[in-house]
């Protein structure tokens, strides 16, 4: 077990380094002079020069890369071109909001998705099964930003039940969390259903039923536990989807998270902040996937010996 964890952690290092390098190169690949683009065409020469020095763009690429990695190791993501505040500080303000939104959405998606998937699988081909699967497909196909806007129009503008946007109370969280969680709910429901159906055909389920266990006990204690393994993967992958989807949801609901910061920074051409935001989301995603892989080996001991 220990060696599996160590091996998995070691394997994550080149991936992390690759992510970091890709984000570094992206900023340098922008056609033209990034310093000039960031400062704006009309900016005085001194400002352009300041930005160029600040970002180290006047040095050779290899040196820039070395400095970037060294700074990253020290937790320094550079400085915002607009506010002149450290990028880590800008992200630090916003990250809790995004994590709050993503976690709330995930909680909704897991509870709703698992319940829907189990009901659907245990009552295959019933009306309830069809209805649930249509609902899941709608969740997967609906554009997050449209769903959010329509929910806002109905529940905030027309009915006045929830605030139109912003962050603060639990009521602020409800609509954005449901909106963002819709796709993940659909994915988890579909995965739970197909995984449960597969397990329900196994011999040990028939044995369980034959020896007189209740339907509930067979479904929850024997089938669900074995069906959960692929579901765990989907949950991990969906968490990344949630972090990325938060870019759109945060824009709709003016939620002050990393996603909105990123979009605003793209508009303002504040590339150090864009770079930091992309990096943080990708790193959180990688970390979640790593945790999922490790969680796997606890859920399914067979994986450790592969």
């Amino acid at each position: 077990m220990f060696s599996y964890v160590v091996r998995r952690l070691l394997l994550a290092i080149p991936v992390l380094l690759g992510v970091v390098t890709l984000v570094f190169l992206a900023l340098r690949l922008i056609p033209g002079d990034p310093a000039l683009i960031m400062a704006g065409e009309a900016a005085p020469q001194e400002v352009v020069a300041r930005i160029r020095t600040q970002l180290g763009l006047d040095r050779p690429l290899a040196v820039q890369y070395g400095i970037y990695i060294w700074n990253l190791v020290r937790g320094d993501l550079g400085e915002s071109v607009r506010t002149r505040r450290p990028v880590t500080q800008e992200l630090g303000f916003r990250l809790p909001a995004t994590l709050e939104l993503a976690s709330a959405s995930m909680a909704i998606a897991v509870v709703l998705g698992l319940t829907a998937g189990i009901i659907s699988a245990t009552r295959q081909y019933s009306i309830l099964d069809y209805a649930t699967m249509v609902g899941a497909l709608v969740g997967i196909s609906i554009p997050v930003f449209w769903f959010g806007l329509m929910a806002m129009w109905i529940f905030s503008v027309r009915l006045g039940w929830f605030p139109v946007g912003g962050r603060g109370t639990l009521r602020h969280l409800v609509l954005p969390a449901i909106t963002l969680g819709a796709m993940a709910t659909g994915m988890i429901a579909r995965m739970t259903r197909s995984s449960m159906l597969e397990v329900l055909r196994q011999d040990y389920i028939r044995t369980g039923k034959a020896k007189g266990l209740t339907e509930r006990s067979v479904n929850l204690r024997h089938a669900l536990r074995n069906a959960l393994i692929p579901v765990v993967t989907v949950v991990g992958l969906q968490f990344g989807g949630l972090l990325a989807g938060s870019v759109l949801t945060e824009t709709v609901f003016t939620w002050p998270g990393v996603g909105r910061l990123m979009v605003d920074s793209i508009t303002n051409r504040d590339y150090p902040v864009v770079q930091g935001a992309v990096l943080v989301i990708a790193l959180v995603f990688t970390a979640v996937n790593l945790l999922v892989d490790l969680a796997y080996s606890f859920v399914d001991p067979r994986i450790r010996y592969d």
Partner: protein, 285 residues
């Protein structure tokens, strides 16, 4: 040739049995026809502003109402179908053009190249696809064309991974060995014997990725990183309607509905094709 006829036959037979896939096929066909005959179907000029009639709700003259510049929303949605389909075709084309040969080579040759491929894919998959698309659009600059390319690039790892897996499974099959024994060159083996056998998953993936490409492009359009004004792109239309949500919700509602129905259509069709062509992919794509 025989193989591709099988593929078509399998797909057709599977689809007929799948009622929901037929619905998907109908939606996709309708979308295709609307895009093709847009100039005949659109009742008004999609770009013509009528400032006096701005934000007018649906009426008998303008079935879906008028937008913030008084343009006919129905006509804009009809022309928007062309853009959405182009997005699907271009981005799927980019993803396939790079991902399929890469996956074939990686699975077929193995070795260091394969290891390098796998690590690169791991890195690319560390970015949720819309994030990778946003990063690429930031580099290339916001435009519809760049958004399509970005979405295509973001889908490359998925194609590479699926094709690599399928290639690996048939690399040592008897018919491949037989072809090799007869002195066929690698390129010939790959194109004539391996490629036709990995096409099933690629078709399925492409259909499902068309849905996700339309969704992502609309998202980029919504964020202002995709199509620019006055292009009648659904995501951008929806985004501009946002400001008028209180007084004219129809400006956002209808373009969003168009995105939703198209994506649903491709997803239904993709699910059906997956079950017909390669049920093993269930839960993977």
């Amino acid at each position: 040739m025989a193989r591709s006829r099988h593929l078509l036959w399998d797909a057709a037979r599977g689809l007929v049995r799948h009622r929901s896939a037929l619905v998907g096929l109908a939606v996709v066909t309708a979308l295709l026809l609307v895009a093709l005959f847009a100039p005949l179907l659109a009742p008004h000029d999609p770009l013509l502003p009528r400032m006096r009639e701005r934000l007018t709700p649906p009426s008998s003259k303008h079935w879906l109402g008028q937008d913030e510049l008084g343009r006919d929303i129905l006509s804009r949605i009809i022309y928007g179908a062309r853009i959405s389909l182009t997005i699907g075709i271009v981005s799927v084309g980019v993803g396939m053009a790079v991902g399929v040969p890469w996956g074939l080579a990686s699975g077929f040759y193995g070795g260091k190249f394969d290891i390098l491929t796998q690590r690169s894919i791991d890195i690319l998959l560390s970015f949720p696809s819309i994030l990778l698309a946003i990063l690429i659009v930031t580099v290339l600059g916001p435009s519809l064309w760049n958004a399509m390319v970005a979405i295509g690039i973001a889908s490359i790892p998925a194609y590479t991974r699926v094709v690599r897996g399928s290639t690996l499974a048939i690399r040592d099959a008897e018919y491949v060995q037989a072809a090799r024994a007869m002195g066929a060159a690698d390129a010939r083996i790959l194109v004539r014997h391996v490629l036709p056998n990995v096409l099933g998953p690629v078709v399925v993936l492409s259909t499902l990725y068309t849905a996700s490409a339309i969704l992502t492009a609309a998202g980029l359009g919504f964020l202002g990183l995709g199509a620019q004004a006055p292009t009648p792109e659904w995501g951008a239309m929806l985004s501009r309607g946002r400001e008028y949500l209180r007084v004219a919700p129809h400006v956002s509602a209808f373009p969003g509905l168009a995105i939703f129905v198209s994506v649903l259509g491709f997803n239904l069709l993709g699910d059906g094709l997956r079950d017909a062509l390669d049920p093993r992919l269930r839960g993977k794509v």
